[in-house]
């Protein structure tokens, strides 16, 4: 048994012993408070998945909790037209079914909201925040307007399941809490957890590595809403009360406070925050209701200012290292970097035109990109070089002219989103390094190697198999000894090296490199040049945007000169270098 597994079992056993002991330490009232706190903790964990890990600020998370509770209430009560509860209760089966239904309805509602909010509004996280805020604010008056269904002002009450006593309920909720906690920890340490952290750090980059960002975010949001709905349904069945405030913004804010105070993106932190704050809250709320809310607000501000990571964060991080860990390492995979086959002509561009608003950037590009050849694009700053890569890798850009792909199944370029194009093997390296702040170097390469394959929500890949060329790039640029450093703290040159390594790790059919050597030293350039030539020998196509003419001379099979949105010359390096037009337009006087 590994040390990690042993620690996991020890800590898990300790947790279960503590939870099991609580009913014997306090009175019945305290036990009920703990039971309730477990349902809050489940909701806090679900919010941490959505907000902490994926970076979606759900300001209306209470809505999903409320939906769960209301579902149980509706299925177990009969209400008069004026909102009086006439009778309530049901069999165990009714309650189990109601809890399951509440979970599913909340998940579906969350998916619908996310499906509406994400694709249409792009990357702006505030949009979903405002939607959540609007929902949690709008549902309250709606709720009180429908007394015949929801019980109106008083809500539905008295429908707690009577078949279990206080201690029985305590263990059911405690068990559910432990299950959700463990499930969430497994999820965030898995490869899927890596993907959602990447999306939080840099959505655009994740997209160009082949990941369907919108679908992933909708999935996370739906799962988060579903778990919150489950927590709410449990709460309903235990406490037997649902009313408008359960949907409201104040409760949603309280959930945000639990997560922030406990520690965002730690799973354990928000759970501790929810349990601690709700227990302290119920003690203090009875004697000092006004002061408690004030204290909670002050605590929130103090945590944001003084411990922005959250109170329980250092402890939760230690725990995670102890039991979750599993450092990811790189291993070379035998064989060529890509399975190259098929026709030579990969991309054909004919009279391609493109404008940013009124600014015409591409004015009729004719270009052929062929397998097994390295095409260098040179040209003055602002000639449209990076834009050329942009329109190739995002089919939704509205261009005039024809882009014909010859990439296996991916014949059609028009209207294809970047992640689909990337999955067909068109991989780009961005001009300005665009990395994931919190992911390690090795994790960047894992994400690239996945190239958009839906990652496992259970399994954690610790040995990352990458083409040998990736390790060569890592070795040449000094990344190999920094495999566990986070993307956010790398020096600029390492970021460039990692960009190149990621592009190779994605096993491209066509590799588009935008100024890969800017910020690299001469000796590093030379090694990168050699590696690019071996990739060409393996049969992939490379398009390289480059200003360093010496480097162009070393690596290029063919050179295209781009000027003012048009290809003005193509030919071998020797031909281009001796062209007077090129010298005047581009090289100028030697410095």
């Amino acid at each position: 048994m590994s040390a990690r597994r042993r620690d996991f079992i020890l800590i898990g056993a300790a947790l279960i012993v503590v939870i099991a002991a609580v009913p014997f330490l306090g009175n019945e009232y305290r036990t009920q408070l703990w039971t309730q706190a477990f349902t809050f903790a489940i909701a806090a964990v679900s919010l941490d998945l959505v907000w902490g890990y994926t970076g979606i600020p759900d300001l209306g998370h209470s809505v999903w909790f409320g939906i769960g509770a209301l579902t149980v209430g509706l299925m177990t009560t009969t209400v008069s037209d004026t909102g009086l509860v006439l009778e309530s209760g049901g069999t165990a089966g009714t309650y189990i079914f109601a809890i399951a239904l509440g979970t599913v309805i909340a998940a579906i509602a969350g998916a619908v909201v996310a499906w509406y909010a994400f694709p249409s509004r792009g990357a702006n996280p505030f949009y979903i925040g405002i939607v959540g805020l609007a929902l949690s604010t709008a549902i309250q008056p709606l709720y009180t307007q429908l007394p015949g269904i929801t019980g109106g002002e008083n809500g539905l009450f008295g429908f707690a399941y009577g078949g279990l006593d206080t201690i029985g309920w305590y263990y059911v909720c405690g068990g559910c809490f432990v299950a959700v906690l463990v499930g969430a920890l497994i999820l965030v340490r898995s490869d899927f957890g890596l993907l959602i952290a990447a999306i939080r750090d840099n959505e655009r980059r994740a997209r160009y590595l082949g990941n369907d960002v919108e679908r992933t975010k909708i999935a996370v949001f739906a799962v988060g809403a579903g778990i919150a709905g489950f927590a709410g349904a449990l709460y309903g069945a235990v406490v037997g009360l649902v009313s408008a405030p359960l949907f409201g913004f104040q409760f949603a804010t309280e959930m945000l406070v639990w997560v922030a105070v406990g520690g965002r993106a730690t799973i354990v932190g928000p759970a501790v925050g929810a349990i601690a704050l709700s227990l302290i809250g119920s003690e203090l709320n009875r004697s000092f209701p006004a002061q408690w809310n004030l204290a909670l607000g002050a605590l929130f501000v103090a945590v944001v200012v003084f411990v922005p990571d959250g109170i329980a964060a250092p402890w939760a991080k230690w725990l995670r290292r102890r039991i979750v860990g599993g450092e990811r390492t790189l291993v070379a995979e035998p064989g060529p970097a890509t399975a190259a086959s098929g026709a030579d002509a990969l991309v054909t561009m004919r009279d391609v035109r493109f404008a940013y608003g009124s600014l015409q950037v591409l004015r009729g590009i004719d270009l052929d990109i062929e397998r097994g050849r390295l095409l260098c694009i040179v040209g003055p700053n602002g000639a449209g070089k990076s834009t050329l890569i942009e329109v190739l890798t995002d089919g939704r850009r509205s261009i005039a002219g024809v882009v014909a792909f010859n990439l296996g199944a991916g014949q059609d370029h028009r209207r294809r989103p970047p992640h689909e194009i990337a999955r067909h093997g068109l991989i780009r390296k961005f001009q300005i390094p665009a990395l994931f702040r919190s992911l390690s170097v090795a994790e960047h390469l894992l994400l690239a190697a996945h190239r958009g394959r839906w990652p496992s929500p259970f399994r954690r890949t610790v040995r990352i198999a990458v083409p040998a060329a990736v390790l060569d790039v890592a070795e040449a640029t000094g990344l190999a000894s920094r495999a566990d450093m986070a993307g956010g703290v790398l020096a600029h040159g390492f970021k460039q090296g990692l960009e190149i390594a990621m592009a190779v790790a994605a096993r491209p059919v066509l590799l588009l490199l935008d100024e890969p050597t800017a910020g690299l030293t001469a000796s590093e350039r030379a090694v990168i040049g050699k590696i690019l030539r071996t990739l060409i020998a393996d049969g992939i196509a490379i398009v390289l945007i480059e200003h360093d003419f010496d480097f162009v001379g070393e690596v290029a099979d063919r050179v295209a000169v781009l000027h003012d949105g048009k290809v003005v010359e193509t030919g071998s390096f020797a031909e281009i270098g001796s062209s007077a037009a090129v010298r005047d337009a581009y090289l100028g006087a030697a410095p």
Binding site: G478, A491, A518
Partner: protein, 231 residues
């Protein structure tokens, strides 16, 4: 402007990036810092400007600025061209050019003189800077620095991503700035040609320290530098 750094140390969290580094740049002198990746070049510039927490003495014209906030240091007359996040993408080119604290309203003649170096910027004054190409953004950074009429120019790899002809322009613009106004220059640079042609002195950094420094005019300096920069 005279810049002096003594026994400088800087760290990110627990990672020490600069250790015991001393460097003096005389008034009107130009110094180029070279070095491989991750050796602390950019961090040195940021430490001087107070972007990262540091220990040791930093003086400008004899004034100890070690405890000053960045804004106050810059107002003393520094023009800084950072490597990353150097422009305001949502602002227009003209607005970017106006975002200087050292000289808020440059006279039109001076504006024309700077834009004469970079005609492409003059044609795009009302365009959002974020839509400029990578190389054009570099030009914008340098143009903004020059417009501020700084006494000390600090540049972080200004040549990366510039077309060869533009390298000559950059060199010319900075040379003019030096001869006409006696501006002090501290630059981190990967391009040996540019570094050698502009700087009076070159220094090589390794693991957070200066391991080699010499006048750039010395014989076979290029070969010496290449030896120091080799892995």
């Amino acid at each position: 402007m005279r810049l002096s750094v003594e026994k400088l140390a800087a760290r990110y969290g627990s990672a020490v990036v600069i250790r015991d580094l001393s460097l003096t740049i005389g008034d009107g002198e130009a110094v180029a810092i070279l070095g491989r990746n991750g050796m602390g070049k950019s961090t040195l510039l940021k430490a001087i400007l107070g972007y990262v927490s540091r220990d040791g003495a930093v003086t400008l014209d004899g004034d100890d600025i070690a405890s000053w906030p960045t804004a106050r240091i810059v107002r003393r007359g520094i023009g800084y061209g950072p490597q990353e996040e150097a422009i305001f993408g949502e602002l227009t080119v003209a607005e970017n050019l106006a975002a200087n604290v050292t000289q808020r309203h440059p006279p039109p003649a001076q504006m024309d003189a700077v834009l004469a170096h970079f005609p492409v910027l003059g044609r795009r004054l009302r365009q959002h800077a974020g839509t400029l190409s990578g190389g054009e953004q570099k030009m914008l950074v340098l143009a903004r620095v020059l417009l501020g009429r700084p006494k000390l120019i600090i540049l972080d790899e200004i040549s990366a991503g510039l077309q060869p002809a533009m390298l000559a322009t950059v060199q010319r613009a900075l040379a003019v700035e030096r001869t006409e106004r006696g501006t002090t220059i501290l630059m981190v640079e990967q391009n040996l040609d540019l570094a050698l042609s502009l700087a009076d002195r070159v220094a090589v950094m390794k693991l957070g320290q200066i391991v080699f420094a010499a006048p750039s005019a010395a014989a076979d300096m290029r070969a010496q530098l290449e030896r120091h920069l080799a892995p």
